[in-house]
C-alpha cells in the first residue's frame, strides 16, 4: 500500500518560521496591521523555550541597550488579556535582586545609576529597612534592588496564547509543520515544509521572518550570514505547593539561584545547566539539579523539608555578547531575523514581535535596534561560537 500524501500551496505577505513568543507575537501584530500571515511551527506553538522557561517577566538587570524594547514590552504585558484573551497568571509582583555582600550592593547601586533615565522605578533597600521589609530573607542578604513593576507569568499559557490570538485574528497558523528548505524567488521566498503526518506544504511570501529560536542559525547560514549561536539549557525545578512565604520574584546579583512562588504555592527555582539529548531536546543534569537544590535551601530555608516534584529545562540560543539578533538580513532583502535571546527573551518577546511588524510595514522600527544587527558578528572571532554561555 502506498501512502497518499497531500501537497498544499499557500500564499502570504509574511511567512514566519517559528511559533514561539517572538514569532507568535509578530504574527499577531502583523495580522492586526492587515497583513496576510502564515506562521509555521514544527512542534506546537510556544512548546519550546517560550513555553518552558522560568517565567520571569523582568526588566531589571538587562543591559541598557535592551531597555527601550523591554519598556515597550512592559506596556504590552500590561494589556495581555486584551491582546491574547487570558491573564496568563501574569503578576507584577516586583523583582528583587539580592546583594549578599557590600560589593554586590555597590554594583546594584551602580546599575541603578546607569539605567536611571529609562524609568524602571528601581529602589535600593538595605540594612534595617531591608530586614524589616523582607523578614523571610533578611539574614541572607545585606540588601537588594527592587523593581516594583517587574513580575512573573506562566509561560505554558502565555506563549501559545499569542499564536492562538493571531489565528483568531486571521493568520494561518500551521503546527506540526517543519520548514525544511527556504529559497529566494524573484519577488520573495519559497518555503518547503513537511507536516508530522508527512504532507507537504509550499508557502510563497514576500517577506520572511526567522523566529526559529535556538535553531535560527541554519536559516541565517543558508542566506550567507552565519552567526555564532550556541544552545544552552537553563535548569529549573519546582516544589509541591507550600505555605506562602515569597511574594516577589527573586534574583541574586552575580548570578546563581533565582526563585518565585506561584499562586498555588509551588516554588519555582532556577540555576545551572541541563544537557542536550539531541539538537531539539534537553534534560536537567543531575549535578545542576543537586547544586540548585542545595543553593535554593541556602537562599530559602523554608524549602528545607520540601520536595522537588519536577525538574526541566529547554533549548535556548545564546550569542557571544548575550544580546539578541533583531533586524533585517544583511544579505537578503525581505528577510528579517529575531533570535539569540540568550536566556531572557520571554519578557522582551512581545515587543520584539511588534518591532518586527513595524519593520515589515515601515521599513524601520520606533525602537532602536542597531545594537542587535546581525552584521556585528561578520568579522567576529569564530572561536566565540564555542564559548560556553555563562550565567542566566
Amino acid at each position: 500500500m502506498t501512502a497518499r500524501f497531500e501537497m498544499e500551496r499557500l500564499e502570504a505577505d509574511v511567512a514566519i518560521v517559528g511559533g514561539g513568543i517572538v514569532g507568535g507575537s509578530a504574527a499577531l501584530f502583523l495580522t492586526r496591521m492587515g497583513f496576510k500571515v502564515a506562521l509555521l511551527e514544527r512542534d506546537w506553538c510556544g512548546a519550546k523555550a517560550s513555553g518552558v522557561n522560568y517565567g520571569g517577566v523582568r526588566r531589571q538587570g538587562r543591559p541598557p541597550e535592551q531597555l527601550p524594547l523591554s519598556q515597550r514590552s512592559h506596556a504590552i504585558w500590561g494589556r495581555l488579556p486584551e491582546l491574547v484573551g487570558i491573564d496568563g497568571e501574569y503578576v507584577r509582583s516586583g523583582h528583587l535582586k539580592l546583594a549578599r555582600n557590600e560589593a554586590d550592593l555597590a554594583s546594584l547601586v551602580a546599575y541603578n545609576k546607569k539605567v536611571e533615565t529609562f524609568g524602571l522605578g528601581l529602589e535600593i533597600i538595605a540594612g534595617e529597612a531591608f530586614r524589616a521589609r523582607y523578614p523571610a530573607l533578611g539574614d541572607r542578604a545585606v540588601g537588594g534592588s527592587l523593581c516594583p513593576e517587574d513580575g512573573h507569568a506562566n509561560p505554558r499559557l502565555v506563549s501559545p496564547a499569542f499564536a492562538r490570538a493571531a489565528a483568531k485574528a486571521g493568520a494561518v497558523v500551521r503546527e506540526q509543520t517543519a520548514v525544511d528548505h527556504v529559497e529566494r524567488t524573484g519577488n520573495g521566498f519559497l518555503l518547503r515544509c513537511t507536516s508530522v503526518g508527512g504532507d507537504a506544504l509550499e508557502v510563497r511570501s514576500r517577506i520572511l521572518l526567522n523566529c526559529s529560536g535556538a535553531w535560527s542559525g541554519r536559516l541565517a547560514e543558508s542566506f550567507g550570514e552565519p552567526v555564532p549561536l550556541s544552545s544552552a539549557h537553563p535548569c529549573m525545578a519546582v516544589t509541591e505547593p507550600l505555605p506562602r512565604f515569597l511574594d516577589v520574584n527573586i534574583g541574586v546579583e552575580g548570578g546563581g539561584v533565582y526563585g518565585r512562588q506561584v499562586e498555588r504555592g509551588n516554588v519555582v527555582v532556577g540555576g545551572g545547566r541541563g544537557f542536550a539529548l539531541d539538537a531539539d531536546r534537553a534534560r536537567p543534569a543531575r549535578n545542576a539539579v543537586l547544586t540548585l537544590m542545595g543553593e535554593a535551601v541556602d537562599l530559602f530555608p523554608q524549602l528545607r523539608h520540601a520536595h522537588v516534584i519536577r525538574t526541566w529545562t529547554g533549548v535556548e540560543g545564546y550569542t557571544p555578547d548575550r544580546n539578541p539578533i533583531i533586524g533585517p538580513s544583511a544579505t537578503t532583502p525581505g528577510l528579517f531575523h529575531a533570535f539569540g535571546f540568550s536566556g531572557a527573551g520571554f519578557q522582551i518577546g512581545p515587543a520584539v514581535g511588534e518591532a518586527l511588524a513595524e519593520l515589515v510595514r515601515d521599513g524601520h522600527s520606533s525602537a532602536p535596534l542597531d545594537t542587535f544587527s546581525i552584521t556585528r558578528f561578520a568579522k567576529a572571532d569564530p572561536a566565540l561560537s564555542v564559548a560556553a554561555p555563562a550565567g542566566h
Binding site: R286, R304, V308, I309, R310
Partner: protein, 467 residues
Amino acid sequence: MTDTPVHPPIIVGAGPAGVRTAETLVAAGLRPLVIDEAARWGGQIYRQPPEGFHRPKRALYGFEAGKADALHRAMAGILPAVDYRPRSLVWNIESGALDVTPNDGLKGGRSETVPFSHLILAPGATDRVLPFPGWTTPGVFTLGGSQVALKFQGCAVGSRVLFLGTGPLLYLVAYQYAKAGATVAGVLDTSGFADHARAVPGMLRDPGTFAKGVYYVGWLRAHGVPVHSGVRPVRVEGDGRVEALVWRRNGAEQRTVCDAVAFGLGLRPETQLADLAGCRFRFDAMDRAWVPERSAAGRTSVAGVYVAGDGAGIAGADAAEMAGERAALALLEDLGRPVDSARATLLEQKLAASARFRRALTDAFPFPADWAASVPDDTPVCRCEEVSAGTLRKAARDGEAAEINRLKALTRVGMGRCQGRMCGAASAELLAQALGTGPDAVGRLRSQPPVKPLPFSAGILDEEKAS
C-alpha cells in the same frame, strides 16, 4: 571470552523479578547491587510486614504463602553475596549512572551517584486509576493500596469495605479482607458475566490460577458477600468520609452502604526509569500503556539495560520471577559467561505461555472502554493539580491539545506530585476519547527526573543541615 564487569550489575527492585535476577547472578559468581525503595524485600505481592511484626505467612499470602516463603528465603539466602540497599529511591538515570537517595521518611539524606555497566530494571507496577464521581472522598482506596495496608500494617481500610473494579486482584483482595475479619460489603465487577465465560478456555491454560479465581468467587458467595458483574459506579456518597456507593447495573441504580471503597482497574507498569535510560518504547494494546521494547530475554534497545517483571508490561508474579531469571541469564550471556541455554529456552517458552494466559485474563476482565465517555465533566482527574475531566475535554475539543504532553502543558494534568503516574492513564484515555482515537495515538508522557518527589536534603552538602 569472559568479561568481568567494571561495575557490579545493578538491579532496581527487590520484588519477584528483582530477587530472582539477583539469585541467578549470584549463582554465576557475581555480586550484584540490589536497590529497593521498600524497607524489606518481596515487592508488592510478597511484601513483608515491618521488622518486629509477626503474622503467619499463611494469613498474609493465602495460597501464595509457599511462593512468598520461597522468594523471601531465596533473598535471605543470598544476602551475604549481594549489596542490598533497601529504603533507597532511584530518582534519575543519566549517562550510565543512577542517582539514589535514601527513602527514610522525613529524614532524607544526600543523593549518591552510582555508575553502572549492566542494569536490570524491575520496578513493578501500580494500580491503574480511572476516576469516578466522589473518588477523592476519604475512605476511597486503590485495590493495591488496601492490600498494602493489610499486608504491611495489618490493618483494614474500613470496617465495611466495598470492592469495585476489575481484574483478578479484585476478588483476591476482597477474599483477603474477609479472611482477615473485615466485613466485605460487596464485590462489584465492571466486567460482565459474558466476558468471564468467553475467557474460560484461555484461562484453563493455567488451571491452578483459574481454580483459585473460581475458589475466591465461590468462597465470597458462600459467605454471603454480594457479587455483581457488569457494574458501573455512579458516585460515592459521604461528606468527609465514605458513607455509601451508588452504582448501576442493567440500567437500575442501587446503593450500598460502606465506610470504604477499594477500587482498581488493573495495573500500570512503572516505566519512567526505562525512559530515562533511553530505552525505545512501544504501545502495548493489552496494557493500554507504553512499555519499553524488549526481546524475549529481556534486553531493551539500550545495550546493557534489561527489564523484567511487571515494570516491563503486566504479566503477574510467576512471570516476573521467570523474567527476572531470564534477564539475568541474558546479562551473563552478554558478559560472555556460559549459561544453561536449555534453561533459557524453557523460561522463554513458559513466559510465552503466561503471556497467552494474560490475554485470556484481559478478555475476562476487559478495560471498561466506555469509562472515558461517561465520566462527568466535574470529576477531578488529577488530584495534585485539581484538573477535572471537563477541563481536559475542553482543551481537546478546542483543538488546542492533540497530544498528551501538550495537554499537560496547557492544563497542568500530571504536573503534580505523582508526575502523571496516577492520572496519566486516565488523561490519555480521556484525550483519546475526545479526539475520537485510541490511547496509542495521543503520544507518551515524557519522563523527567525525579521519578518520585525528591527531598531537598538530597542536594544539601552540609550533612548537619541535611538531617
